[in-house]
Symmetry: C2
Subunit: 330 residues, 2 copies
């Protein structure tokens, strides 16, 4: 790893993940601007040196400055880390001046276009370098100083290496990849499987059933990734399997929790009222629409879609998945 | 699945897994003889229609008869399911008359020979058909009636299909495979990774660190399996990834629990005194000896070995694993 010299970097989105990434970069000696959507939120972060709403207890270094001004946030930045919900990426990117590089920390597909976050960013700013960061990275744990590893993927090898140096630290190891497509498909699709795993846990089906879902889910993720041009090795790495396992084992992940709530009978309206906006919910709709149109068989995604959008009982959906015809496993 | 006609079947080993498998087979209408090592244990099982010591709460059908007489147990059996600790397979098999077929439900390598359970059985009885059953199968959950799936592998396709029918039921789905080597290597090696995952949990390193271990562990399992002639598809299926995820997520698995105890400073002597005989402990020794001799790089197995047998501090071992050189992940 090339230890990077001090850079100016912007992080868009002051949720848990955006705040933790901004703090990692600031601790590594970079000047970081953290964009928060609400002015009041930015002001509180600067006053309290902490994001009490989304990352309570994580002290934010003085080299991190929050702002609600998007243009001010990205001015002079060597790269812009995007950590907003996937469905907001297009509108946020559309409001930006030209920037040299984007690093997506988003995990989802855009409903309607079925675009990955870096594709949306690349469509809005065709000259920007594009990268994505993904892995088993529960924000809460990284904020607490527990060790983690992630994959950073970009098409430009020199940029990947530079960006790796920005994030690399004692407790956060970042590995390079050239498979931007695979890394983003994995990050998006794991949220769909996490919804299913949350439903299974919510219904008390146990660790055997959940491990079966994770196994079939990874095979389904691989199928989708290969169809879109991603590599199987990525699916079996930190951004695929690693992230899937962390998200499905943790009762703290949003998508897992949303699945548990759905199993308990919560409707989309209720989840929304609870501010439980899990990326898997729009993403499963985008995936299902795409799979239908292209004749792709993605049984777990299809069942999760039916439960979330068509009120199929989750127990029936999971039973239908477990009962799929016997035969050679592969 | 071909629903099997009634068969006589033997299960050797009245621990949790042997008892649960015997009960599944008996419920499917087969006449089952369950061999228990101690005569008193066999008598209690027959009297109480329950194995209170290892599978409390699981009612055992009258078609299941326990015995401490090995020859009586296997007499007339169409197949013998072996569910004893891997290090006992050779001595138990050596005491048997000729039988038509073995189905191994053991997960380990023999110390000294580095043989898989089916290899040991095949060496003792060269004319017997050989199969192995493996998957995400926490015995406690199956005993409680929760759904599970497994892989049954054998070289003989007709036998695989027949044996699949014996086990197949509403709550227990069995899928066929021809990769006996891959299925057994996966089952053995996952116990080594489960020890590492238990150590990580015991030290409170979190779900990100554990997911990273599972990811690297699966890559290491694949390397070992391919070296021994197994197929990567098996490693990514129920017997590989599925079993690994179930064992590592469950605080109820023996190997995970043994890892937690080791992290808390327990020595081999203490684990043994607690009757916490986890398959991973002899297996990691067998794997490490083999890896040394054949120049195979298996870093997780090497570190687990150092912790268990050479008293390396577990935190140092896990740190050394996390800190391995950055670079392209694959």
């Amino acid at each position: 790893v090339t230890q990077a010299s001090q850079a100016t970097l912007a992080v868009l989105g002051a949720g848990a993940w955006g705040t933790v990434l901004a703090s990692l970069l600031a601790r590594n000696g970079h000047a970081v601007r953290l964009w928060a959507r609400r002015k009041q939120q930015a002001e509180r972060i600067n006053l309290e040196r902490e994001n009490q709403e989304y990352a309570p207890g994580l002290p934010l270094p003085a080299t991190l400055v929050a702002t609600a001004d998007l243009r001010a946030a990205v001015r002079g930045a060597a790269a812009v880390v995007v950590a907003v919900p996937t469905q907001h990426v297009r509108s946020v990117a559309g409001a930006l001046p030209d920037v040299p590089a984007f690093i997506s920390a988003c995990k989802g597909f855009e409903v309607g276009s079925f675009k990955r976050p870096s594709e949306i960013l690349g469509a809005v700013q065709p000259r920007a370098l594009l990268a994505a960061l993904s892995g088993p990275n529960l924000a809460r744990e990284i904020a607490a100083g527990l060790p983690a590893a992630a994959t950073l993927a970009a098409q430009d090898a020199a940029f990947t290496e530079r960006a790796q140096g920005w994030f690399w630290g004692e407790g956060f190891r970042v590995y390079r990849s050239a498979d931007l497509t695979g890394v983003e498909v994995a990050g998006a699709f794991k949220n769909v499987i996490a919804l299913a795993a949350g439903m299974s846990d919510g219904l008390g089906l146990g660790d055997n059933a959940k491990a079966t879902l994770v196994t079939r889910g990874l095979a389904e993720m691989r199928r989708l990734a290969e169809h879109l041009g991603g590599h199987p090795a990525t699916i079996y790495g930190l951004a695929g399997l690693g992230d899937l396992v962390a998200t499905c084992s943790s009762r703290g992940s949003r998508n897992h929790t949303a699945g548990e709530r759905v199993a308990a009978g919560a409707t989309l309206q209720e989840l929304s009222a609870e501010r439980l906006t899990a990326e898997g919910i729009p993403t499963v709709r985008a995936v299902r629409d795409y799979a239908l149109e292209h004749g792709l068989e993605l049984p777990i995604a299809a069942e999760v879609y039916r439960v979330v959008y068509e009120e199929k009982p989750p127990l029936t959906a999971l039973r239908d998945l477990m009962a799929r015809a016997a035969g050679a496993e592969a």
